[in-house]
Each structure stands twice: as structure tokens, then as C-alpha cells.
């Protein structure tokens, strides 16, 4: 169990006595404006969500992460956490300077610029995503990044403006919460979907073996066709209220961009949940995958390379509803013919929820369907 007091967590939140002084001088620092996704990265670093990182990664760690899936000191880390800038933006900045990072008109954090460096975008794509195909959404974003990376430690001045702050906990808070609930073992569940009976089956199966379930929806940039953030939250609130013991489950959101990096991202997600205080992490079929870029269980197989992760993965095979069993089942539990099975695909779920009439209660809880249908546009639309 991770230290509940957070001694192993990075804390880069500037103490109050320094904060006021720095804020009064914020306009004097070279200014860099961040987009929403980078704002989230700054918050996650400074609040310990990305421990052991203390800032945006320098060239040594960047290369190590891309090529070996570990930091330069050997610790597991599979996704580069970097701040990109255009050559024009980076040009006036000098190594050794302190910058102020802004969210719109809000001075968010100081960054102590240790290094600015060029990098190989194709190499980044190939190492992290296993492909350089620009149709892959993560690759497309990597190729669109600025040509220069800025590296250095961060100091958070204030929490970013966030409409979901009511549902957002820091790792120190989640660890404290787990302790107050008396949980010694906690399983984390990453989600970016409205829950159907298949998800519930997986969560409750895992919960049978641990003390508590931590549902941790990813809130942030998504691709067209994904469920909107507020819809996912509402649907989980409905599910938890009607079908879970409150003393056995809790939920908070994670502000993070989905990379769709499949196996690499599964390891990253597990590290983040370890930081939140989870002892176990659910990894399903095609975790964090997209299209056919990764084999269905690649995100589980990669854990063999990380015995030193410090969190136990719980692997689940594909699950479905079997008419003969009369329940949700999986390939290990159901002996029946495929024609008797209904797969819980994303396409199926969207179709069921967009149709008039009640969805089958054995596949989707009516309260969850109601929570989704109260939204006129529940899906992310094309930008």
C-alpha cells in the first residue's frame, strides 16, 4: 500500500507565504500561455499525480522514455511529459530563466527553464505509439507539436479554473480518503465511457477481492464520437447511487488527455493510479487503444516488462452478455456459442442510447440510460 501520508509524492505547490509574493510579480516573468491540455499536465505534475516527475522532462529523460519506457534512472515511465513550443516562441527564452505559465489571464505556475531542445517527432511517434501513421490520433497530435521542447521544474501558484473541481481530488486527498474509509487494498478503474453491465461486472468482480473501488474517469480532450465528460460523470453518479455500496466505492476525475497509446498508456495509467493510492488496477481488452493499431491484449502483455511497477494489474478478457447464461460472462466463464452472445462495443452502446425506447435492462441500467438521455448532445462532435 502506498504511503497514505504522501511522503513518496511530489508536491510542487508553492507555499502560501511565497505564493502571494510571486503572484504580485507574475507579470515580470517571461510569459508562456498554455492550452487546456498543458494546464492539466502542470496541475498533475505539481499535485503529485505524475510523481516522481517534478516538471516537464528534459532531453535525457525524454529519450529514455521514448526508447525504453523508463526514466533515465530506470524507473518505469512510458509517456513523455513535455512542453512543446514553436521555434518563434522558444527563441527569446533562455536556459536558466524562470518563466510564468498562464492559463488565459490566470498566472498558473512558474517554470524554471533548465533546457530547450529539438527532438525527432517520428521517433517519438514510433517509440510511444508503435506507429508513425498520421491517422492515429496520438501520432497526429505528436506530429503537430511545436519543434522545440522546454524542460524544467514547476511550482504551482494556484489551481487552474476547472468546472469539475468539485469532482477532482489530489493524490494526497485520495490516499487520505482511502484511509478514512478503512481501505487497505483499492482497485482503480480508468474509464472514458458510460458504464454498461459489462463494466459493472468487471468492477464488482475486482471489488470482490479488495476493500474499495476507485472509479477514475478521464476528463479532457477526446475524439469525436466519445461521450462528453459531463455525460460520463452523470452516468456514473447514477450507477453508484443505485447499484453500489457507498462505503465500497468512490469516484474522482482525472484531468488528462487520452493519447490512445495502447500498451504504453496502460502502464502510464497504472502509475498514476498507484500515485492516487491504489494497490490494484483493472486492465481490460484493448485498454487505451484505438482502431486496430494494437493487438487486443497488448496492453496486458506489456506488464510483463514492468515487474517493478508497484501496483498489481488485474487483467480481464473480453466480456459480453450471454443469452443462455442469462448474465454477463467472458471467454473464461461461458461455454456457449458465439451466436448467443451480445458484445458490449462502443458502437453498440451509442446505438442503444440514441434509439427511442428502453434499452435492455440486462445490458444497461435504466438509471444510467436516463442520465445519458437527459443530455441533448451526449457525444463529442467533430471539431
Amino acid at each position: 500500500m502506498p504511503d497514505l501520508n504522501g511522503a513518496d509524492l511530489i508536491n510542487r505547490v508553492l507555499p502560501e507565504e511565497q505564493r502571494q509574493e510571486v503572484l504580485s510579480r507574475a507579470l515580470l516573468y517571461p510569459r508562456l500561455k498554455l492550452d487546456d491540455e498543458k494546464v492539466n499536465e502542470v496541475y498533475n505534475v505539481c499535485q503529485g499525480v505524475y510523481s516522481p516527475l517534478e516538471g516537464f522532462q528534459g532531453s535525457t529523460d525524454f529519450r529514455s522514455v521514448v526508447h525504453s519506457g523508463r526514466l533515465s534512472n530506470g524507473q518505469p515511465w512510458t509517456i513523455p511529459i513535455v512542453l512543446d513550443a514553436s521555434a518563434a516562441e522558444a527563441s527569446p527564452l533562455k536556459e536558466g530563466q524562470t518563466l510564468c505559465l498562464w492559463q488565459g489571464d490566470l498566472p498558473l505556475a512558474l517554470m524554471h527553464l533548465d533546457e530547450k531542445y529539438a527532438y525527432d517527432k517520428a521517433g517519438l511517434a514510433s517509440g510511444v505509439f508503435g506507429t508513425t501513421d498520421p491517422k492515429h490520433p496520438g501520432v497526429a497530435r505528436a506530429l503537430a507539436m511545436g519543434d522545440v521542447l522546454l524542460a524544467g521544474k514547476l511550482d504551482l501558484l494556484q489551481d487552474p479554473d476547472d468546472p469539475y473541481s468539485r469532482h477532482k481530488l489530489t493524490p494526497v486527498q485520495t490516499r487520505q480518503l482511502f484511509r478514512q474509509k478503512g481501505w487497505r487494498t483499492v482497485v482503480g478503474f480508468q474509464t472514458r465511457n458510460v458504464p454498461h453491465l459489462g463494466h459493472e461486472y468487471v468492477q464488482k468482480t475486482a471489488l470482490s477481492f479488495v476493500d474499495g473501488l476507485f472509479i477514475n474517469p478521464v476528463i479532457g480532450k477526446k475524439k469525436a464520437g466519445d461521450f462528453r465528460d459531463e455525460v460520463i460523470l452523470d452516468s456514473y453518479v447514477a450507477l453508484m447511487e443505485h447499484y453500489y455500496l457507498p462505503e465500497r466505492v468512490t469516484m474522482s476525475v482525472l484531468r488528462q488527455e487520452m493519447r490512445y497509446a495502447g500498451p504504453r498508456e496502460a502502464i502510464f495509467h497504472a502509475i498514476v493510479r498507484k500515485n492516487f493510492g491504489c494497490t490494484h488496477f483493472i486492465v481490460g481488452r484493448d485498454h487505451a487503444g484505438v482502431g486496430n493499431y494494437y493487438t487486443p491484449y497488448a496492453a496486458q502483455e506489456i506488464f510483463q516488462d514492468y515487474p517493478d511497477l508497484g501496483i498489481t494489474p488485474l487483467f480481464f478478457t473480453a466480456f459480453f452478455y450471454c443469452r443462455k447464461c442469462g448474465s454477463v460472462a467472458n471467454e473464461k466463464t461461458c461455454p456457449h456459442d458465439g451466436s448467443l452472445r451480445i458484445d458490449f462495443s462502443g458502437t453498440w452502446l451509442r446505438k442503444v442510447l440514441m434509439e427511442k425506447g428502453e434499452p435492455p435492462a440486462e445490458l444497461l441500467r435504466p438509471e444510467v440510460a436516463d442520465a445519458v438521455r437527459k443530455w441533448e448532445h451526449p457525444l463529442v462532435e467533430e471539431a
Binding site: A7, N11, S72, Y306, D308
Partner: protein
């Protein structure tokens, strides 16, 4: 960069019987070598002895609990 990579690791001596015990222990686990297991254990031990920033005080703990109550996570 072979030179930089070569300097990333160094050698530490451990008693041979201990080495063999570890060899036995990691059989069937994901650890592929005694070195990777020893590195993992030592990293955990070293991390335990390090504290990041200010120590977590009773007042800090109380503040966290109050925040959790304010958000509705605790009664």
C-alpha cells in the same frame, strides 16, 4: 549514445548465497534477472527514506479531511 548508456549502470557485490536465494525467489515472476530485482528493492528502500518537501503534519492531515468533507467525500 553508447557512452552515456554505458555509464547508467555500475556493479555492486553481494554474497553468492544471497544471489542464489534471489535467483530462486524470482523464478516465475516478471523479474528477468537478479539485478532487476535488487534494483527494484533498493529503489523502494531508498524512496522510503526520502521525503519530498515539507513533512505531512497533523494540521495538513486535518486540512485534507476538511476539504474532503466540504466536497462531500466524508461525512
Amino acid at each position: 549514445m553508447p557512452d552515456a548508456d554505458a555509464k547508467k549502470f555500475t556493479t555492486v557485490s553481494i554474497p553468492t548465497p544471497l544471489f542464489h536465494k534471489i535467483e530462486e525467489r524470482i523464478k516465475g515472476t516478471g523479474f528477468t534477472s537478479v539485478s532487476s530485482y535488487v534494483t527494484y528493492v533498493l529503489r523502494e528502500v531508498v524512496a522510503e527514506g526520502e521525503t519530498q518537501g515539507e513533512p505531512f503534519t497533523k494540521e495538513d492531515e486535518q486540512r485534507v479531511k476538511e476539504r474532503l468533507r466540504a466536497l462531500g467525500y466524508l461525512d
